[in-house]
Amino acid sequence: MVAQSELIKEARENGMDLLPLDKDTYELFFGPQHMATENFSIILKMDGHRVVKAIANPGFLHRGFEKLAELRPWHTNIALLLRICVPEPDVPENIYSMAVDEIIGWEVPDRAQWIRTTVLEMARVSAYLFWIMGLSFKLGVYTAGQWAAAYRERLMALFEELSGARVYHIYTIPGGVRRDIPSDKWLRQLKDTVEYIKSKLPDFDHLVFENYITFKRMEGIGVMDKKFALAEGVTGPNLRAAGVAYDVRRADPYLLYPELDFEVPVLGDGDALARALVRRYELEQDLYILEQLLEMGPPSGPYKVEDPRLKNLPRFKVPAGDAFAHVESTKGDFGAYVVSDGKNKPYRVQIRGPSIAHGVRVLEQLLVGARIADVPVILMSLDNCPPDIDR
């Protein structure tokens, strides 16, 4: 039996220090290869199986979008900027187009607004299904996750008919959309898909949301109260589960949302279970919104702005000015700030993803005192998306 002091001496001589905080603590690198963290890493200082201190370490997905966007013409930036949010790629397209539309000052036609709203809602439903898949995998209920992935396939087939690609649609441009709805058959297929997913929601309830194991694992974990959430810049379902009623679709309405009728869920607990239940209710409400949109039907008319300047797309100039636009995505409040100085390329584009507030400071404070098995559950209940932080 070797004494501990001799082991420590040997470790130091060979450069294998583990930098303990105290006699019994060690450092754990919860790194980017782990399936639970999705390209993000956390440095944890642990005592036994409890976390004492956590440091978030983003930067693995930095691709330099803000500088690259200054070198390309206005319309081309859509093919570049939509790669910022991977589960819901329609959201960065829409905020960039809304900001540029506001600088130019033209009026987007009604048919294009209907199509943009439908596409945003479909992206929300598919992102919530993706979130259910992630949550089930982390809790251990792999069955429900595979169901969610299968239902998401139907939505991706619909997107393929509409825009030409399954995940990265490159469909919304400043001034409208690129193509028209293919046929009336597409609208009927969308209605069938919405009814199908609605009929399968009780299955998810039985397995994930009304499961005794879920309650035992998620209740009382990762609690944040109202004052903390507002001070740290938290938005989206995380803020609604902490007790503040703030939804961009109602507070700062855009597109066709003033004419739609839906409810906003607010709970007061602020723990991981409340966040999961709020998202489950919003999935139901999104399906209800899609039904209302399909009943309204698309208005007739052009699907993009007719403007003679658009004949020469590489040299299309935008007048000087700046604008801010934001949209409610499933992760939070996604915003874009665009500055133009009158040339054919943007002067400055900045995209604000919601995870820059949740994934760094909030995570570091919520993880103190959690067990090692709770770390992925807290990450998923905050719905952290690392490409938003790194851009």
């Binding site: 983003p58 930067g59 930095h62 330099g64 803000e66 500088k67 690259l68 070198l71 390309r72 013409p73 809304m98 539309d101 506001e102 987007v108 507002l230 001070a231 740290e232 810049g233 938005t235 503040v244 703030y246 507070a251 700062d252 855009y254 597109l255 003033p258 590489p314 801010f324 934001h326 409040d333 915003g335 700030y337 500055v339 054919n344 390329k345 002067y347 400055r348 900045q350 604000r352 820059i356 507030a357 760094v360 400071r361 932080i389 790194d390």
Partner: protein
């Protein structure tokens, strides 16, 4: 993107009332209304902390982002603090200007007023070189690697294509005619 009944200046009365109330308490600032739910203020660099404390007491709770914009012609960097107010339902932009030189680009931090600003200030420091005094996380590496710490890539005098050609050596495959390319 407004629809519904619009009576000219009637839709922005609430925003105008908020701007007037804030400007009465802070006479060193200027403010105006852009459109409904968008207002902006302009504040000199020394009074930024007092102004933001005043805003926080008047119901502007969420700090969304701090955006630096580089204007090399005026030799200044413009900092824009973007704040959303849940009680009033408006978005406001607070603008200040600081000198552009690397030695002189310093401004006091606001992380005791809005704690979320700590992360946004680290972001601005890494990409633009602005130093926020009082934020002790400035020296922690944020996104860029160690080899790129002093490069400050988002400034306008950083030539990205030359840097990439030097570092990776594979960019130009043909001797292209560069007249009409916009990229």
């Amino acid at each position: 993107m407004a629809d519904g009944e619009k009576e000219g200046g009637g839709m922005t009365m609430k925003e105008q009332a908020i701007v007037d109330r804030i400007l009465k308490k802070a006479p060193y600032a200027e403010g105006n209304v852009r459109r409904e739910r968008r207002i902006e203020f302009k504040v000199p660099m020394e009074r930024i902390r007092d102004f933001l404390t005043l805003l926080k007491e008047n119901g502007f709770e969420l700090m969304l982002q701090i955006t630096p914009v580089d204007w090399p012609k005026d030799e200044e960097i413009e900092l824009i603090y973007q704040i959303w107010s849940i009680t009033h339902g408006v978005h406001t932009m607070v603008r200040t200007r600081i000198p552009r030189d690397l030695e002189k680009a310093k401004i006091p931090t606001i992380k005791d007023i809005y704690p979320a600003a700590e992360t946004y200030e680290r972001d601005a420091h890494d990409f633009f070189g602005i130093y926020f005094e009082g934020n002790w996380k400035m020296e922690m590496p944020w996104i860029l690697d160690d080899t790129e710490q002093d490069v400050y890539p988002l400034r306008k005098d950083f030539d990205m294509l030359q840097y990439v050609k030097k570092k990776y050596k594979i960019l130009d495959r043909f001797d292209e005619n560069k007249d009409n390319y916009v990229i």
